[in-house]
Amino acid sequence: MVELVAKSPCGGRLPVEHGASRLSEVAMTRLTSLQPKQGQEKALSQALKSAHGMVFPAPNRATGKEGARAIWIGKGQAMLVGPEPDAGLAAHAAMTDQSDAWAMVRLEGAAAENVLARLVPVDLRQTVFKRGHSVRTMLQHMSVSITRISDEAFFILAFRSMAGTLVHDLETAMKGVAARR
């Protein structure tokens, strides 16, 4: 019998640290996309709150906390990160298991904002992009979801097939920012 070995999306490339920024992989967990059925937005939000303790996020926002988050990832769509989805949610939303389809990384440190400023065409400074804020945008030429999870830390979701490029682009920018200190 073949022994299958689970490999993480960023497979041994992380963590890395350059200057005042550190990039680490977030261990794969349960990822479920939630798409509220027509007219069921409020009911889904309530079901999500009673089952997992967070409401359905508004556009450009994320709800929940470490271990169980709901991140807005597009028009009429959020990603539940962490918990096994409660079966009751299915009455109000189309749910798709997306575990293993994404790479998840955490970029943190005093220089994290400057690193992202080199790659992302959206203003992610603390003054306008606070904890709980989230964007769907591009990192270089790659579609990503970026969420601020603390004053100095960002949670980034990218397609798993692009994990190598994600790490390379982020690390190149981290080195560049560190070199200018």
Binding site: P59, N60, G74, K75, Q77, P121, T137, S143
Partner: protein
């Protein structure tokens, strides 16, 4: 050029994909006749000035957006979710 996505806010034009004239939302009735369908499919104005077209927020929220813009100045005058525009058309308002 920067386009204001009704959901995401103002974003770089690179995040969007151009889909064509917003007349695509005004699909004629299947029985409307050859003339209406020919016009719908093939006849487009090419104005030096204000135009209205569809953009897809490809690298963002994946919404279809109706963008009213000026082809001469590149000014973006108005943006609206295609979904809303379509609902207005169906309900008979302009």
């Amino acid at each position: 050029m920067r386009i204001k996505c009704p959901l995401c806010g103002e974003r770089d034009r690179r995040e969007f994909y151009y889909v064509g004239d917003a007349v695509l939302l005004e699909r004629p009735d299947p029985e409307a006749g050859d003339h209406a369908w020919d016009t719908y499919l093939h006849l487009r104005d090419n104005p030096a000035g204000v135009t209205r077209d569809l953009w897809y927020h490809e690298a963002g929220c994946a919404a279809w957006v109706v963008v009213t813009r000026n082809t001469v100045t590149h000014e973006v005058l108005k943006t609206e979710l295609a979904e809303k525009r379509r609902r207005k058309l169906v309900e008979g308002a302009s």
